[in-house]
Amino acid sequence: MNVLISGGCKNGKSFFAQQLAADLAAGRPLYYIATMIPRDEEDRARIRRHIAERAGWGFTTIEQGKSIASLIGREDVDLSGSFLLDSVTAVLENEMFPVALKDGKAEFLGEDRDAPERVRQELVAFARAAAEAGGSVVFVSDGIYGDSCGYSESTENYRRALAGADRALAAVCDRVTEVTYGITEEWK
């Protein structure tokens, strides 16, 4: 069963998603798809904190911040397992706004205008491949659509692209859940 989880930031989505992914595993392999590509010490500290929080849950971590569809057919990945992909937001950011690391510092390479369509297709392909293999994916995204101010062009492109990915995933997922302060609302 594939699930899309979204809602406001810092609302308990990740914790809920971890529990759900562990429940869905039911004895099969349980994977955490780590999507953050660290750019500085702040990122590295956050990753250490996330790893500590996941300790004891039984997750095998797969580092995959880009090209999600490349997980299909990999020998060390059992698609009949349970995957937690946290987050769609990070994958899109990594692909739309790639950086090069130079002497430990991130250098922006500009906006990849083909990324929105590519990311949408790869996420949907991964969801379908897992479903066909009898596995499950819990996708975590972020609701960043309630602001009144306009943003820069590239940020609006990003918001539109993330909403597009969310809607494409919502269409192929069996369940769509919004999390608000740990409380869930079922949309599908």
Binding site: Y145, G146, D147, R159, R160, A163, R167, A171, W187
Partner: protein, 128 residues
């Protein structure tokens, strides 16, 4: 009247069209206020209420009053608004006033609406 709201880019217009029974052989006429102008209530679907509220405030008109005065004209419509109520308070005083006026407009319309639907990730849910 049916009120449809939700965050930006959530698929609100497509959802409104589905409420109107749009299919391959039927396309409901849409008046999109985000491009400027005043509402054309002869159209079944009116989108971009938030952009219209901003223009009203800039011109010294209270958007809820505008709709109240035309109460008999939009009874058959599906009104579509982007929810702009969830973010940080805008620094710009004009935007701040517009956001408040937009909120008051939607409270009025939600009260008057026969049905209110919220759209999330392309999925709509009737909440009134």
């Amino acid at each position: 009247m049916i009120l449809v709201f939700g965050g930006a880019y959530q698929g609100k217009t497509e959802y409104a069209q589905s409420l109107c029974g749009d299919a391959a052989d039927k396309t409901t006429e849409i008046c999109d206020l985000s491009d400027g102008g005043e509402p054309d209530f002869t159209k079944e679907i009116i989108t971009g209420l938030d952009a219209f509220a901003l223009r009203c405030v800039q011109e010294g008109v209270y958007p809820a009053d505008y709709f109240r005065e035309r109460r008999d004209q939009w009874e058959h419509c599906v009104l579509v608004a982007t929810d702009i109520s969830q973010g940080v308070v805008p620094i710009d005083a004009g935007l701040r006033a517009a956001r408040e006026a937009n909120g008051r407009l939607l409270i009025y319309l939600a009260e008057e609406a026969e049905q209110v639907h919220r759209v999330f990730c392309g999925i709509g849910k009737r909440i009134k």
